[in-house]
Symmetry: C2
Subunit: 331 residues, 2 copies
């Protein structure tokens, strides 16, 4: 042991002497084994399924894959909270039945307003301000709101097994990216702290900004121009546009991730890995499948996962812990 | 010396014992000194102008900044060559006066067709095919065409001083990005090899792809939908969208880079650096300014550079060599 310590001190490359399990929040089931096996096969020089380091790009959905999406996606919750926060400054909003529904917590009416209603609320809360101002609003919302069910802040609710998986992949030379239907500016506020993923590796729904000079500098003002919904068939398009590589692994939880999984699985050069987080744990998180909350529909992707050999994570069986007890103790 | 070698062997961190000049293609003029001084001040721990490593994002224009843009930008040359290559397979194209102008090298008529004509030629050569097919076309064009003036392949014409500057910045912990009006898929074919910049750090003009399943996999087909021209005021917008950081240095050569330079200079957190490559060398490259080729107009940016203390590189005075003699010997 002493000798090892000395060798490590001199070589600097050794970071861990003890071999702590990097996936300790996972139970020792087939799901965990499939991950470890693929990573080992992909990174062992000389292996027939070796993937060179500069090709190790992996993509993760966010809502329902890295943090919860129930009962509403957290960004929808942000939108509702923002409308409430801003309403006093906009007396004219009161005339609007949709805003009134938000103010009265009448989610039924909000849901009924459909995509058109959502776009309207998005425009009210995600456009008009500078990018810096928007970032501050999200940061302030995160600091001052809690998820009702867990009584934890939203940025404390990253799934511990998935955060460990991100670390594990990075330790093995993989570049971890988020490809999500969530807003790109919204997610970038918490991605570094929650997942160790820097802004430029976070891709989401976006609209174009508008640049201008100000009295003492420059600004980019958020608009709704060129709005791009980074979901379903748009996910591979966004991967190509932002990342410019075909991924070697994809991690999702819903039909909105199916095309990203298909695009990854069809990588002609490497043995790829696909994984779907299946929400089966009504006690510790939520159980849903064909009757999902928000965007969590999982109908087409589940049979395709079985047909193509993608790993399906049964949250109840496969995860030892869901949330990091140090961040969000189980109630 | 022996002691240093031993220390370096043990510590591994030392990579160069000899102190070769990393900017040997630059003359020892004020331009070079300004670069070295800023890099040293930005990277010296404890300096009042120190920039933490995770904030060292720097952005480069491509056409006219990293490689020539005269007499036409190289991508326009690609478009013309592609129309000629494809024309025999499209007999109907012959009826089109614009295509005929291309086939007859009648550039006057092509230029007269303006932006509308350019968009038409772009659509003919940059949409309809899969992304992989497009990449192959660009690679094949690069392999089989030469710049008329130098008789070198286009991908041999990266400016040696700028390529050294990219290396020098990376060695000092800076993340180098391209932010160019050039096509994103076009530039990504050569950016790694020419500049050591991977696809995900290359941002350019783009349009959205269209994803679909095929008999044996998936494809993304290039379209003209949502075309975004990554020039002028759109450059800071693209920097925010793709990179998500305010740069600490910006390098350009024309008025199309002005807003990117302004956005960088207005970074509220750090002492930034701006640089403009001024084409003053009619013998080794081109001399132009207010009567530029292609997109190289430099009217507003030059006085602003002087007012704001950005470095203006006088190519003739400041560069020892323009092209790497090992790649493209001076004729």
């Amino acid at each position: 042991m002493k000798k090892t310590l000395l060798a490590c001190t001199l070589m600097l490359g050794c970071t861990t002497l003890a071999h702590a399990d990097p996936l300790s929040a996972w139970n020792d089931t087939a799901a965990k084994a499939s991950i470890v096996q693929w990573v080992q096969n992909s990174t062992k020089q000389g292996s027939t399924t070796f993937i060179p380091k500069d090709k190790r790009y992996v993509v993760f959905d966010n809502d329902g894959t890295l943090w919860p999406e129930a009962p509403l996606t957290f960004q929808i919750q942000f939108i509702l909270d923002e409308v409430k926060r801003q309403a006093p400054d906009h007396p004219d909003w009161k005339k609007d039945p949709l805003v009134n529904a938000v103010l009265n917590n009448d989610l039924k009416t909000v849901v009924k307003a459909g995509d058109k209603g959502l776009m309207k609320l998005l425009a009210m809360t995600h456009s008009g301000m500078t990018t810096e101002d928007f970032e501050q609003r999200v940061a302030s919302w995160l600091a001052n709101h809690k998820d009702a069910r867990t009584d934890c802040r939203y940025d404390q609710l990253g799934y511990q097994p998935m955060r460990q998986l991100l670390d594990y992949l990075r330790e093995n030379g993989f570049k971890t990216w988020i490809i999500s239907g969530g807003g790109i500016d919204f997610m970038r506020v918490m991605s570094q702290k929650m997942y160790g993923i820097p802004p430029e590796q976070v891709v989401g729904s976006f609209a174009l900004g508008e640049f201008s000079l100000t009295d003492n500098g420059t600004q980019i003002r958020k608009t709704m121009t060129g709005a791009f919904n980074d979901d379903a068939a748009n996910k591979p398009v966004a991967i190509h546009l932002f990342m410019g590589h075909r991924p070697v692994a994809a991690f999702g939880n819903s039909d909105g991730d199916l095309q990203m999984l298909q695009y990854t699985a069809a990588n002609p050069d490497y043995k790829t890995f696909g994984l779907i987080v299946h929400h089966t744990d009504a006690t510790r998180e939520y159980a849903y499948d064909s009757h999902p909350p928000a965007s969590g529909k999982l109908e087409a992707a589940l049979p395709e996962a079985k047909a193509k050999g993608w790993t399906v994570v049964d949250m109840k069986q496969d995860w030892k812990t869901v949330f990091d007890p140090a961040q969000c103790p189980v109630k």
